[in-house]
Amino acid sequence: MPYEALDFYDVDSLLTEEERMVRDMVRDFVDQDVIPNIEHACREGVFPDEWRVTLGEMGVLGAPLEGYGCPGLSYTAYGVICRELERGDSGLRSFASVQGSLAMYPIWDFGSEEQKQNYLPKMASGEWIGCFGLTEPDYGSNPGDMITKAEDMGDHYLLNGAKMWITNGTIAQLAVVWAKLDGVIRGFIVEKDDPGFSAPEMKGKHSLKASVTSELVFQDCKIPKDRILPGVKGLRGPFSCLNNARYGISWGAVGAAQACFDSAKEYSLSRIQFTHPIASYQLVQNKLAWMLREITKAQLLAYHLGQKKDAGTWIPEHISLAKMNNVDIALEIAREARDIHGANGILDEYCIMRHMANLESVKTYEGTHDIHNLIIGRHITGIQSFTREL
């Protein structure tokens, strides 16, 4: 059965013609190149290099950025791209999120003219892969306390420390690394071959298996002076990247949920138990109706947030709400879909269990579900509750 994207309220009719064409292009890529190969990629634990090449050829990397060879699409189009990619696999969407929002974006917004000219065109084309090093083994939800530090040695910087859970790390030519220089968080561009830098892969993941996750290790890593991002100081740097990536995730989660719904619907119509299709039983219909309800709400949330991103009328709390809600419902939908598939739901013949396992990571990265609750809680009450030091 060809994939049918649930769009109960015809939300996609609100997209521009250009956005719909971009959607069809990415959907075609996912149908043709991703779905037939994703289980193999997961089993091998690799991100297929051909996907990098095709993403570059399609011209979707760094979608909403303009100039320097970047696509210059709307934020809404960027969202649609994330949704279609994540319908294939969250690992694929992670690759694009990290490349565009976490590695290209900080160079585009905070980099020097030379840095932009040097790195952005080859990142937009997919020739160079980027990664984003913020999380450390002991500092996840509170990156502000990070220990990785940079020292000004006069004619170069010296980096020391370690990052963990870094998507694309081992396969990247470039890392945007956040480290403290005289106690202030700054962004640095580290290249693969810089002395004292290594990026060993983390193995054994049960989630995002088709995405490469790595440690970044800096042992007296020496980088030239012109690799500091001049345009930003403090947590605002990494957080502005995260805002864009989280926005993309709010769309991406809809794609994963749509894939699970589609599979559950088809399965329930064809699976006969007690002489009738299980889709004919009220309990199953209740689950499908609930999925449709949550997907429709999530679509509207993502679309409206896209409009706000494009109009520049958004606040970070809007993004927190959409990321948190949409990943949450996608994960619940994956679980319900698994239930509807019965034992078949655990097989890699169906996309369900893969999406479910992937979404566990998505729920945690880019601000855990509860960290987003705290962000919204602070917005409502004016009282931060991240730490006890009030």
């Binding site: 013609e17 250009e18 064409m21 971009v22 292009m25 699409l73």
Partner: protein
């Protein structure tokens, strides 16, 4: 040199077709797409253009919804877009359609024409030969590949020995079967350029045509017959019955 590609928008092969009051209900078609053989024709035409230069004009006839098809063609590389606007395309017979397309081909100044061997909805298979006849061009059917060759073209098509390469010079029409290369995927740059490309809309009057009245009319459409329900056999006793049915009814053993 100008290469024309004739493209027809048809219900997507995955779209559900409903027939009401003896007519296909077009409003119920959820997705419209390129007719699949036209995609091969378009890809082959793009490759020919890339190998020898020139311009590629995409021509379609039909109601306003067909503009999407032209935008999609532009996104993969069509230079000029022509929409022969005709709301009532289903009222035309094949000969009238050929007259329309032939006039547009002539107006576009094209000497080489690519099209599909048949459209996925009507399947009449007469457009290529019919247009060729009207514009006085050679016609090669069932083509899978075209390359430029010493001032002319070399087209690959099936023959009794497998394949044959047919040499032809312009003016000529290539009616495509499944080609050797699938239609390329667009990219963002192509899509953004497609948005800016003007679509020339030509009316039947502007083409200076008198289509006359058709000698034929379609009486009614009907959906394909429902598949008969499957038969179920259980137990070792039914082996000989099943083997018999597989041999005599299904003809698979």
């Amino acid at each position: 040199m100008t290469i024309a590609v004739l493209l027809k928008q048809v219900p997507d092969t995955t779209a559900k077709i409903t027939v009401s009051n003896g007519r296909v209900d077009e409003n119920a078609v959820s997705k419209w797409s390129f007719s699949p053989y036209d995609e091969y024709a378009l890809e082959a035409a793009l490759q020919l253009k890339e190998s020898m230069g020139g311009e590629l004009v995409a021509i379609t006839a039909g109601p306003a919804r067909c503009e999407k098809l032209l935008r999609d063609a532009a996104a993969v590389g069509a230079d000029n877009l022509v929409h022969i606007s005709a709301e009532n395309i289903n009222d035309f017979d094949s000969t009238q359609m050929q007259k329309l397309l032939a006039a547009a081909v002539e107006k576009s100044g094209s000497s080489v024409v690519f099209c599909g061997k048949q459209a996925a909805d009507t399947n009449s298979g007469s457009t290529g030969p019919g247009v060729a006849e009207l514009i006085g061009a050679s016609c090669i059917t069932m083509v899978s590949e075209v390359i430029s060759d010493s001032g002319g073209y070399l087209a690959t098509r099936p023959s009794s020995s497998g394949h044959e390469k047919v040499a032809v010079s312009a003016p000529c029409v290539f009616a495509f079967d499944k080609g050797v290369v699938e239609m390329r995927r667009p990219n963002v740059r192509g899509i953004m350029m497609a948005k800016k490309k003007p679509i020339e809309t030509w009316s039947i009057e502007e083409l200076g045509l008198d289509l006359g009245t058709s000698g034929i009319s379609i009486d009614s459409h009907s959906p394909p017959a429902e598949k008969p329900p499957g038969q179920k056999f259980e137990g070792a006793d039914s082996v000989s019955t099943v083997v018999g049915k597989l041999r005599d009814e299904a003809n698979v053993i």
